[in-house]
Amino acid sequence: MIGEPIARVWHVTLGIGAVLLLLIAYTILSMRQHRENPDDKTIPSWSQLSEGVKKSVEVNQRSNERWVVADAQATSLRLFWGVFWGVSGSLLIGMLMGCFAFVEAFLYPPLAFLAKIPPIALLAVFFVLAGTGETMYVTMIAFGVLPTLAQTVYLAVKEVPAELRYKAYTLGASHLEIIWNVLLRHVLPKLIDAIRLQIGPAMVYLIAAEMVVGDVGFGYRIRLQFKLLNMSVVYPYIVVLGAFGFGIDYALRKLQAFVSPWYAKGY
């Protein structure tokens, strides 16, 4: 029957089965490619992959650092500051729009328009406006996520029932307290949900930019190793990227449960 629940055992078994199936499919694909060309590097065998992993994790002779560590550091710092400024800006703008009809009328049209432009298309514009240094990554991510997040904040503020604002006033709240203690508390979990969704696109802009102008970072390494046909490095890096995204998502969910325990309880 449609929608019928299954036992937990099945859940786990099927999940593991799917992963196994993927691994088996890859092994077959790789074996077939190596039958054609024993020296193939594009679909590396498991032993080639472990070589690639070693290369990424060990201290590199020439640069004297561990690739994965250096890249993870660079990429996550860029992502963090980009998202940080994007979130700060969107909170400010979204709050102002939600609270003041003047700001709303002024900012809504451009924001709605900007939210529809994929920032990847703006990459060239960011190179021109923000240079090619670390500021560029941060600016790009910040502006990339800002329109959508600001809209989320704005809509979340609008969703707060007027009664709750009135109520808070009757309890002696100041205007600032309405924003800080009522609206912000309402907006936070929804903002975190939106950030979770925006991390994906933010990573896309970041990796794309790193591929073009980076001298360290996941995107840089993947492009370089791709050109050198070292897919045994590229694939583990892609897995690391997936884990990276997964980790961020997990952390954000934990953060949400911490700052807004009420939200998870089915408000």
Partner: protein
């Protein structure tokens, strides 16, 4: 004994666009009363309530609230303020706060400000503990001591409304406004909450006997006639059906107070016998709710007269 006034509404008129809603509303509520406001749907009950809360100010006329701990001073309503508590039918509680936090919310907002809470954090924590203790006492009073740590989404509608009442009461408002507070509840739950209000009224009577200021003054908007007569000690009817042609209007000028009489007083433990006020109920139906009735608007405003008679009957202490 002379009861001071808690609320005075003078010459209040309001309308939306060109459509008049309220016409020349006059109302005076005394300290310690439970006034039930009834009227046909769309007559402007909520508009009147909003004018009192201060979120939507009237076009004409004033609302004056008298507040204070021992000596009452009046001021004209210009916006929502901490001297008037409100319990809405929905959205009375903040979903992101637990029951006890909801009750303590007013103490926090009223007694501290953001910079105090941020920059004098240790002191705030101590203060916070006091607030929560006080809030717990209030929760106990509405019978919800055990639900302190539940979020609104985890409580039933009736529990939420009890918490909402506690949340408003902790501010010791000069006037507690209730906007169809039990409209969304089932019958049993509603009865329980009505008894709770009657319990609060008993606190008023006790305070009056001791010669103190009555702690609770309530203005409850309801569409339920039985509820109005059962809970209120005075019923006010707002209606657009009155003899406005006689008063010289060419167009309907809007609703005004057409009924104002005292209601029987019940104690929480009394059996709920609605038959005893069947006559008054029929009268209100006719005067307030019947579109074909056209009585002069002053005809059924008997309250002040009745009060006078009552005082004469009661020997002065």
């Amino acid at each position: 004994m002379d009861q001071p006034a808690s609320l005075a509404i003078d010459c209040l008129s309001h309308g939306f666009g060109t459509k008049p809603v309220l016409h020349d509303v006059q109302l005076r509520i005394l300290r310690g009363q439970i006034v039930a406001l009834v009227g046909p749907s769309g007559c402007g009950k909520s508009t009147l309530l909003r004018a009192i809360v201060g979120t939507h100010l009237p076009r004409q006329g004033t609302v004056t609230v008298f507040s204070g701990n021992s000596h009452l001073t009046g001021h004209v309503v210009e916006g929502p303020g901490r001297d008037r508590g409100i319990v809405y039918q929905h959205y009375s509680l903040f979903p992101f706060l637990t029951a006890v936090e909801n009750v303590a919310f007013g103490l926090m907002l009223d007694q501290t400000n953001i910079s105090y809470r941020l920059f004098k954090f240790p002191r705030w924590l101590k203060r916070r503990a006091e607030h929560l203790k006080q809030a717990r006492e209030f929760l106990d009073r509405v019978g919800l001591g055990s639900a302190a740590s539940l979020y609104p989404s985890e409580m039933s509608g009736g529990m939420c409304q009890r918490v909402a009442v506690a949340q408003a009461l902790i501010m010791k408002p000069a006037l507690l406004l209730l906007d169809e507070p039990f409209g969304a509840l089932d019958e049993a739950m509603r009865e329980e909450l009505q008894r709770m209000l009657l319990g609060l009224y008993q606190e008023n009577l006790a305070a009056r006997r001791k010669g103190e200021l009555e702690p609770h003054t309530m203005f409850i908007v309801t569409h339920e006639l039985n509820e109005a007569l059962y809970v209120g000690d005075r019923v006010v009817g707002l209606s657009q059906y009155w003899d406005w042609r006689q008063a010289g209007h060419a167009q309907p000028p809007g609703a005004t107070v057409v009924y104002d009489c005292s209601a029987p007083i019940f104690e929480p433990d009394d059996t709920r016998d609605f038959s005893c006020f069947a006559g008054q109920r029929e009268e209100i139906r006719d005067v307030v709710f019947n579109p074909d009735s056209a009585y002069p608007r002053e005809k059924h405003l008997r309250y002040w007269q009745e009060l006078e008679q009552q005082r004469e009957a009661e020997p002065a202490p």
